[in-house]
């Protein structure tokens, strides 16, 4: 089926060429990092994880989010999601590829990476994260590819794909839970040391992930003959809305616990993020932006009239994505490391090179999504599943 990714319109070639150029260009920054070390990043002795690990965490959420389509389809036989399932699975593949990429660029000795297997250490959560992420990748590749191939040949899906799909649903919850365990099992990092962190991770994943997926699907509709059903989109938007409500609620629980109990350790990180501490207020404008956009997205998503407005929906989703990204992609890591173990503040901001390396990985993810979605939409077109009506096509 991969040959379908080799033939396309000039626009398709230009987009792929652009991505390849982007990856090639930005990989220079990574080569520079390999030669110089992680000193080219903004990380320090006190803030020893930064933008890379934050992106990794955010993208594990995107990987897990495909389950919001797969679960209703397989567990509740919600047929309207039938033609969306493959996109959820393919998005998960791209997301896991990016996750692994961000881990690789973050470690100081990437050539020793396989030590995690050679000297496998089950008491380290990082070991389990490696297991669940790679397992999830394999599950999605196997199920997604096989089912699509069967669809193309108009054959029923083999029984084992159903078993693996059920497994992947449970597995999706595990990948983000284990990723949260990376953080919440550490003593002395008060912003992370909370039982609700895994639940918060899942809630933010299940709103932001499907939001990104839906945005990409809406974009796919623009450039291909594929058309997701209106009801499927409405249902997905509903799922996103519920998950975002839970996400905001969970954060409010954190705030209550910290401030009503008046525990300095629990309060300090939140105070640093939203008000500034010891003269440092680097993140304050970002965190308030996130708060306003988060609540704003709810205001646009909760009323059914606004949510079902397809002109407005992409904007609501976009601000939701920005809000959750600031929360998880900036605040989580920087707020976790500040205050430092010495009750001081060490500001962190990614450097230009750090952002270029991140762009390289995002570019790779975009390329994987492009190629997989190209294959999927071509197959859907071939078998005539979820296609735009002829009249609409003619109008284009």
């Amino acid at each position: 089926m991969l040959e379908k990714a080799l033939k396309g319109s000039p626009k398709y070639y230009m987009w792929v060429g652009y991505l390849l150029l982007l990856i090639g260009g930005t990989s220079g920054a990574y080569v520079n990092q390999l030669m110089e070390g992680l000193t080219i990043t903004g990380m320090s002795r006190d803030v020893s994880w930064g933008f890379y690990i934050a992106q990794f965490t955010y993208l594990v959420g995107l990987a897990a989010s495909g389950v919001m389509i797969v679960l209703p389809y397989y567990f509740h036989h919600y047929k309207k999601f039938k033609d969306l399932v493959i996109f959820g699975e393919f998005m998960a593949i791209a997301a896991v590829v990016m996750c692994l990429g961000f881990i690789v660029v973050d470690i100081g000795q990437p050539q020793r990476m396989l030590n995690v297997l050679i000297f496998s250490t089950p008491n380290s959560v990082l070991f389990w994260d490696m297991v669940v992420l790679n397992g999830y990748l394999i599950l999605n590749v196997l199920v997604g590819w096989t089912c699509l191939e069967c669809d193309r040949q108009r054959l029923p899906h083999p029984k084992w794909t159903k078993v693996l799909a059920y497994t992947s649903i449970v597995w999706a919850f595990s990948i983000h839970t284990v990723t949260a365990f990376l953080y919440q099992g550490l003593p002395g990092r008060h912003y992370w040391l909370t039982a609700i962190l895994a639940a918060r991770f899942l809630a933010s994943a299940f709103c932001s992930g499907p939001a990104i997926l839906l945005l990409v699907i809406l974009l796919t509709e623009k450039v291909t003959t594929f058309k997701a059903g209106a009801e499927a989109i409405a249902t997905l938007a509903k799922i996103i809305t519920y998950a975002m409500c839970v996400n905001v609620f969970f954060f409010a629980l954190e705030v209550f616990t910290a401030f009503y109990s008046n525990q300095p350790g629990h309060m300090h990180s939140i105070v640093y993020l939203f008000k500034g501490l010891e003269g440092h207020s680097e993140l304050v404008p970002f965190m308030w932006t996130a708060a306003f956009l988060g609540l704003g997205s709810l205001a646009l998503l909760i009323p059914p009239k606004l949510r079902d407005n397809l002109k407005l929906l992409p904007w609501s989703l976009a601000i939701l994505v920005i809000a959750t990204w600031i929360d998880k992609g900036l605040g989580l890591l920087i707020g976790g490391f500040n205050p430092t173990p010495f009750e001081t503040i060490t500001p962190y901001w990614p450097t230009g090179k750090e952002l270029l390396v991140s762009l390289m990985i995002y570019g790779t993810g975009a390329l994987v999504v492009t190629i997989l979605f190209k294959v999927a939409t071509e197959v859907k077109q071939e078998i005539g599943a979820s296609q735009k009506p002829a009249a609409e096509l003619a109008a284009e």
């Binding site: 070390g37 000193t39 470690i107 020793r112 030590n115 550490l186 003593p187 002395g188 001081t344």
Partner: protein
């Protein structure tokens, strides 16, 4: 045999598998013919190594910097400016060292400086989180590191509640004076984490840790598992505290306040 593509591929598959098995078998030889290993005869041993720091005797910036100098020169620790620095033992204020906030502190303690180093915890979170066992706890309580194995994931740095660990963001040799190196000890390389090792290489030769030697009695090192040791005697005679006891890590470094 039918000359079909199927048969050809089958044959090639079996041949390839055979080749792999043959080459794997030959790599199973082991090293060390008729040899044995043992501990050095003059090694200092303990059930549980620990340290006690008398903050009255060793409480000024200058006094502690002498300790850092002794340690850092023995272990080839570079002096890197900025916040990507590396340090094994250093000085800090009371509020940075201990999470026991107090108002209206007496001047002596307010201005006093405290020696900070790896606590060599009984329950070290760094060992718990390391995905490769590059950091590990020895039977004598020393939390040690194998720099050969460290992949530089820095999970241990996130795990340590004491900020005892440093990462080599760059090649440390750029900040070392080649003429002043200790040629009996290695440097580190870029991309690995490092920290205090309680001078495990000196204990193997019966010597005290470098900082203890340089402290004029301000630091005492010994066996916490031996009720008759000097360190246990000092612990009996003085009120001591440890850093952040609420984390349950059970530090092996005690402070006489």
């Amino acid at each position: 045999m039918n000359h079909t593509r199927r048969n050809f591929l089958k044959f090639m598959g079996v041949a390839a598998a055979g080749l792999c098995a043959a080459s794997a078998g030959s790599a199973l030889a082991v090293s060390g013919a008729g040899s044995s290993i043992k501990e050095p005869a003059n090694a200092a041993n303990a059930k549980r190594w620990g340290m006690i720091i008398d903050t009255q005797k060793c409480g000024t910036k200058e006094a502690i910097e002498a300790l850092s100098k002794a340690c850092h020169s023995v272990h080839n620790v570079p002096d890197i400016p900025g916040n990507q620095n590396v340090k094994w033992i250093w000085a800090a204020k009371f509020s940075e060292a201990f999470d026991q906030h107090n108002n209206y502190m007496d001047e002596a303690h307010e201005t006093c400086q405290y020696v900070l180093l790896c606590n060599h915890c009984t329950n070290p979170p760094c060992v718990r989180v390391c995905p490769t066992k590059a950091t590990y706890k020895r039977a004598d309580g020393i939390v040690a590191m194998d720099y050969h194995r460290c992949i530089g994931c820095r999970y241990c740095m996130a795990g340590c509640p004491y900020g005892a660990r440093s990462f080599n963001f760059m090649d440390p040799r750029k900040y070392l004076d080649p003429s002043k190196l200790n040629k009996e000890f290695p440097t580190r390389m870029r991309g690995v984490v490092e920290k205090c090792n309680f001078c495990v290489e000196r204990l193997a030769h019966g010597k005290q840790p470098a900082c203890v030697e340089a402290s004029n009695g301000g630091l005492v090192f010994g066996d916490l598992g031996d009720a008759n040791s000097e360190i246990r005697k000092l612990l009996r005679e003085h009120y001591t505290i440890r850093r952040k006891p609420s984390h349950g890590t059970e530090p092996g470094v005690y402070y006489i306040i």
